[in-house]
Structures are given as structure tokens and as C-alpha cells.
Symmetry: D3
Subunit: 168 residues, 6 copies
Amino acid sequence: MSPFVEQFFEDYEIGTARLTTGRTLTETDVVLHAGQTGDFYPHHMDREWCATQPFGRRLAHGTLVLSVAVGMTAGMVNPRAMSYGYDRIRFVRPVFIDDTITVTAEIVAKHDHPKAPERLGRVDERLSVENQDGEIVLVLVHLYVVDKRVAGGADLSTRRDGASEEQP
Amino acid sequence: MSPFVEQFFEDYEIGTARLTTGRTLTETDVVLHAGQTGDFYPHHMDREWCATQPFGRRLAHGTLVLSVAVGMTAGMVNPRAMSYGYDRIRFVRPVFIDDTITVTAEIVAKHDHPKAPERLGRVDERLSVENQDGEIVLVLVHLYVVDKRVAGGADLSTRRDGASEEQP
Amino acid sequence: MSPFVEQFFEDYEIGTARLTTGRTLTETDVVLHAGQTGDFYPHHMDREWCATQPFGRRLAHGTLVLSVAVGMTAGMVNPRAMSYGYDRIRFVRPVFIDDTITVTAEIVAKHDHPKAPERLGRVDERLSVENQDGEIVLVLVHLYVVDKRVAGGADLSTRRDGASEEQP
Amino acid sequence: MSPFVEQFFEDYEIGTARLTTGRTLTETDVVLHAGQTGDFYPHHMDREWCATQPFGRRLAHGTLVLSVAVGMTAGMVNPRAMSYGYDRIRFVRPVFIDDTITVTAEIVAKHDHPKAPERLGRVDERLSVENQDGEIVLVLVHLYVVDKRVAGGADLSTRRDGASEEQP
Amino acid sequence: MSPFVEQFFEDYEIGTARLTTGRTLTETDVVLHAGQTGDFYPHHMDREWCATQPFGRRLAHGTLVLSVAVGMTAGMVNPRAMSYGYDRIRFVRPVFIDDTITVTAEIVAKHDHPKAPERLGRVDERLSVENQDGEIVLVLVHLYVVDKRVAGGADLSTRRDGASEEQP
Amino acid sequence: MSPFVEQFFEDYEIGTARLTTGRTLTETDVVLHAGQTGDFYPHHMDREWCATQPFGRRLAHGTLVLSVAVGMTAGMVNPRAMSYGYDRIRFVRPVFIDDTITVTAEIVAKHDHPKAPERLGRVDERLSVENQDGEIVLVLVHLYVVDKRVAGGADLSTRRDGASEEQP
């Protein structure tokens, strides 16, 4: 009856895919995201100016589309995994106010973690975000660090600091 | 007196850096971000459970730190540039509620755009996000597509679709 | 000149009714309520999917209509009354984004409180929520515990715990 | 791979229970709920006045605890069920800012729907909301109208209007 | 039973005063106001920097204190009055996060409206905003245009444009 | 590379003007402002009632237009200046949901500060807010207290209290 579902590195299978329900990115979402980030660029906030531009309408912020898309893939809580980063985020097409997005998430790769290969792995999940016309608007790879089963009792708090090969 | 500042590809110089003011990531930011994204994981929302975990306190969402950090670098409006994507986003250290972040943004690379090298370039800006203790918590590279001066009148709306080499 | 208006159990009269001003339930309200509750069901958030359903449009959450309707009846502050619960909440008709609701609140019953009949009473206020077409969309009974005049100095903090006949 | 999970009346079993993760009801939640409902009573908004009262601290709105608790039980999307109302909502104990709640939801009753017993049923789910000290703070029964299997293609849009026995 | 209370120019009396309940200006209010206005100055948003400044703590935005104080005086709806402007707004003392304000509103002057003295008047209401220590933090005069009784059916929509003596 | 730009009293020049980008005042802004201030008057919140009024549509709150307009003029952080108050705020024309405003800010006056003329000055900046049709909707004068160069190290925290000639 627990809301937590333990899933170890060994339990992830390449090719497993999930599809989310849809979500309309409303004017409210854009205004709230401007308010959260401080990005009040006229591309998002000024419908008069947008009407004079080639794209014609107000655009959703890239970080809004990204944040919502990632959030849409949050499901059961796996205490064995932690988000580590993203690779190759590409805003392939613009997303406008009132577009509706859905996300397909697919496990595309599994690696040993270079710093602790015996107890940690990295799982890569590819997110493809489509609009209501079936066009891909955003792609990215979401990186997770996941406990290996043998290391079930590992201290999660040390993981990120151990990832120093990623530091500048 | 215009709020727009035109800056062409040729005007960006590798090594130019900017430093933002600081911003505290409050409980409010985390609650609003959960509300925007739908990610109500106990890592962010349940202070009792967090107190039982190795990290001990509520964590800011990765997409919150990312969105705010990118927003903090939004300054003058350059109608010649458009955000294109991000590379190698790494959450190097956790960010907790009430941590204060500042961002350093530095131009680190310039390339011709592979699909339209005569009229478009790509400018890479590296963001390094530090907490109040001077520790780096997030790094990423922000990718811009920027008009070349010779192509001053180009239709911006065609840019993203032209970026098809990035598509899956 | 005080904003508090003391009203004891004896001061409530069955049949007294109040009518609120109207309030439009906007897309913003629905998005904010999803964000507050974590309920991102497509019934509320996905206008493409809603268009394929019999109801055709995005629905306001039941708890949104309820919360706003109850809030619309909050007027002067009566330090002698405290909200105790609700009975028979029924979502009689759907409420869509951009519907405008008004609330009629009528005192419909008064009882002694079973656990402390000499110093506390229960006042039942029926709320009827109508949309802009005069159709009832929600009904409920709001239950208050109210001091009796003889017990003017009672300690309010003990009331809820004293209501143990309601506990499971 | 669909996010929708069809569950008919016949599929619900009395005694089945779910437990949610926890959620801290923050100052932010209270301020946002005041803003959504218009209830700015000093019980929720004025910490100086609250400090002079028996309960001593700012209280979460009843409708906030209710809305969040119901939202916390929203999981997979069942297109065969629709929320119909609530019975016997009781605020058993006060909830203060920074209290953390968890919800247990248990199927407690199944009935034929009186207006359309051959194609619709009513499923009652009891919600018990506990705080971090294991004390019950809110109980309620959530009422769903659910398609029977034989009536799989029924038009959901007619349901609420058909529930006229609930009208005043 | 109407929520509207008609009050004509002749009904306002100099010296009439109202006192509001209190409201704590929370961190949430400041973060939301930054998000609404786009003012993310470190005076409001960066608690590390504030700690190095003479005032030591994060300040509420002036426009936040003003907006909330004016909103706290909104009571019954008078369809005969419309807000016209403010005079001599002075932020007398800083307001910090977690300060609690109350507002005293007093009618201090009545004039004929210069452009339509036979049918419109101007009513001046002085607002004094105090913090929890009884110190005045903000004063202003709120200006209303109010129908005279003789002109009960006047078209409100023409009022503001008629106020051209105030234009630059 | 600092985000702070020191500007002393002597550096401000009468006649210097700035123009902001535009911002559309959305339904979201109005709903959020009602939520922040507690002003749920039907002029802003009830589109059915508004449709029966001479102005015909929902109006933005005066304090919303004011707060956003002032926020739109917030640019570089000048640690030598602090907002002191506003004079002659006039809502010249109504602002409706979906109107787009731009702000022109012009330095119009400089004075010695009466309480500390040797070390402080007052700078007056006039804000003119236009809608998408080029009509002025709001004017005001924003008052700043600014350090004089000779007093570069003055303690900013004492300024507001020193402004006692403004107190009631």
C-alpha cells in the first residue's frame, strides 16, 4: 500500500516507454512562469508585439515547456533513483499559448556510473514532446543515477558530490 | 530609447562574462514550481519525510533551479537571437529551500549554423550557478541561434524548423 | 470601528439568507487549483481531449467550485463561530471554464452541540451555487460550531477535539 | 502504454485501500488558498492576532485541507468514473501551517445508482487525513459515479443532470 | 439581500473611519509580487545580500504594501463610486517579510468634481497603514469619484475620460 | 561585471527618458492580483455583470496597473537610490483585460532633501503608461531618495525614518 515503488538499476529495461496524458499550456502557465523566472521578454508577454513578428503569437518559454514536460513524466516515487541532469535539450519547434503537449518517455541507455560502477548506474530516458498536431516540439535525454541492487543501502546524499567528473 | 538592443552573431565575443544579482530559492518558489509542473515528490513537498533522508531538508526541483537560473540571465532584449536548446545540464550539488543562487554567464563558443552557415550562427553561453557558499550547484550550456549581420532581415520564424539536424 | 462582529448562537435566525456578488471561474483559477491540489486530470487541463468528450470543454475541479463558493460567503469575522464540516456536497451540474457563479447562503438549522449543549450550538448554513444561466451547480450544508451567549468566554481551542462523536 | 486505466463499477472492491505520500501544508499554500477563495480571515492570515488566540498559530483553511487531501488521492485516470460529491466532511482537528498530512483512501461502499441502476453505480471512498503526529485531522466520504461494465459506452455527460434526487 | 450597497456623494461624512483586520506580509506575498511586477531586486529576493545591508532583512515591495493595504479596505461594493487615483503616497518606514499590517481608512475631504460639479463629487479617503508595533509605515490619500444623488443614472463609463484636467 | 550600477544624485539629468517593452495585462494578472490584494469586486472578477455595465468588460485593478507599470521600469540595481513614494497617481482611462501597456519614464525634477540637504537628494521620475492604442491610461510621479556623491558611505537604513516631514 506504499506510494513508494523501489526500482533498482537492474529493473530498468531499454525500450520501455511511457505515454502521458495531455496538457494544454495556457496563458496562465506562461504568466506564472514569467513570474517564477523573471523572464518577461515580449516574446511571451506582449501580444501586440508578437502580432508583428513572423511567429505571430505569444510563445511559451523554453524552460516552461521543459519543466512541464519533465513534470508530466513524474509518476510513482522511486527512492532508488535521483535526477542527475539532462543532455541535448532541443526546442525543435515553437510552442504557443494554448498548444497541448503530450510526452513519450523511453529508456534508451544504461551505463555503469564512472565514479562508483559497483554500486551505481546511470539510466538515460529520452523524452519526446509532441503538440496537438503530432509535431515534435522538444526532445531531451533525462539522466538518472540509480542504485544497483547489491548496493541497496547506499547513502544517497553522497551521490551528487561524487559526480565530480561532470564539474567544470 | 528603445528597450531592444540588436546584437548580431559578429558582436558576441568569446570570454565575455556577466554576473547576476543573487536570488533566494524560497519555499514559495518550490511550492509554485510543484504547482506548475505537477511534480509533488516528497523530496520537495514533505518536510517530515525529508528529515528522515540523508539530505535532511526539502530540495528545490532541478527544473526550478534551471528555470530560475536561465531567467536570471535574461537582460536586454536582442531581437537577433533566439534560444535553441541546452547542452550538458548537470545538477552538481543539491539546492535546498532558502539557498541563494547567483549565475555567471560566459560566452564560450561560436559556430556557423550547419543548415544556414551564411546567415545564421550558433552562440554557446555557459552558465555556472553558485550557492551562497560559493559552491557550484548547476552547470549548463545555453545555445542561441543568432542572425549574422549580412542576414539582418532574415525571417526568424523559419529558424527552429531549419534546425532539423537536431531532430530525432 | 472593529472588523470583528460577535454573533452568538442565539443571534442566528433560521431563514436568514445572503446573496453574494458573482465570480467568473477562469482558466487561471483552474490552472492554479491544479497547482494547489496536484490534480492535473485531462478533464481540467487538456482542452484537446475535452473536445473529444461528451462534455466538450474543460471542467472546473469540484474542489475548486466548492472552495470558491465557500470563500465567497466569508464576510465579517465572527470570533464566536468556527467551521466544523460540510454535509451532502453534491456537484449537481458541471461547471466549465468561464462560467460565472453566485452563491445563496441560508441558515437552515440550529442544534445544541451534543458534547457541550449548555455552551455550544451548531448552526447549519445551506449554500446553493448557481451559474450564469440560473442553474444550480452545487449544493452543500456548511456546519458551524457557535458559542452560546452564556458561554461567551469559552476556550475555542477545545472545540474541535470535543467533537469526537464525528471521529471514525 | 496509455495513461488511462479503465475501471468499471464491478472492478472496485470494498476494503481496498491506498496510502499517499506526505505533503507539508506550507505558508505558501495558505496564502495561495486565501488568494483563490477570497477568504482572508485573520485565522489564516494574521500571525499577530493568531498568537493571541487559544490555538496560537495560523490555521490552514478547511477547504485547503480538503482540496489538497482529495488531490493527493488523484492517481491514474479512470474514464469510467466521475466525482459526484462528498458526504460528512468533518474537520476533526485543526491543521496548522507546516503540518504534514498523509491520506488513506479506502473503498467503503458500493450501491446501484438510484436513477439508472442498470448502467451506473456509486462507489464510496472514505478519506482519512492524518497529520505528522498520526492524529486524524479530516475525514470525509468521496462519492463517485461509475459505469457498469454492461454500459461501457454510456454518455458520461448526462450523468450529473440525471442525479436530480440530490437537488434541493 | 443584495451585495451592492449604494452610497452617494451626499452619504459620505468627513471623519468616518474604518479599521481593518490585520494581515501578515509573508515571504509568499513578496515572491508573488516580484512575479507579478517583474521587480526581482535583491532588496526583496536575496536574503544573503540583505543580511549585509543596513536594513538587514528582505523588504516588501512598496507597491505590494500599497496594493494590499488598498485591497484590505475593499468592503461592500458601492456601484456609485470609482477609484480615481492616489495622492501623496509615502513609504514612511520599511516593511519587512513577516510584518503584520492593519489599515485605518478615514474620509478626510469632499469636493465637487471640477469637470461636472452638478453630478459628480470627489471623496478623499486617507489610509494609514501600521505595523505590528503600532508604527505608521505607509500613508496615502485614495481618491474616489462618486455620483451625486441627483445624478443617480449617470453613465459611469464617461467619468475617467472626463477627468482630463489630470492629464499631462 | 557587477549587476549593481551606482548612480548618485548628481548623475541624474532632468529630461532623460526610458521606454519599456510592452506587457499585456492578462486575465491571469487580474486573477492573481485579486488573490494578492483580496479585492474581488465584480468590476474585475464577474464577466457577466461587467457585460451589463457601461464599460462592458472586466477592468484591471488600479493597483495592478500601477504595480506592473512601476515594475516595468525596474532595471539595473542602483544601491544609491531608494523608492520613497508616489505623487499624483491618476487612472486617466480604464485598462481592460488583454490591453497591452508600455511605460515611458522621464526624470522631471531634482531637489535637495529637506531633512538632510547636504547628503541626500530627491529625484522625481514621471511615469506615463500607454495602452496599445497610444492612449495614456495612468500617470504618476515616482519619488526617489538618492545619495549625494559627497555622502557616498551614508547609512541607507536611516533615510526613511528621517523623512518625518511626510508623516501625518
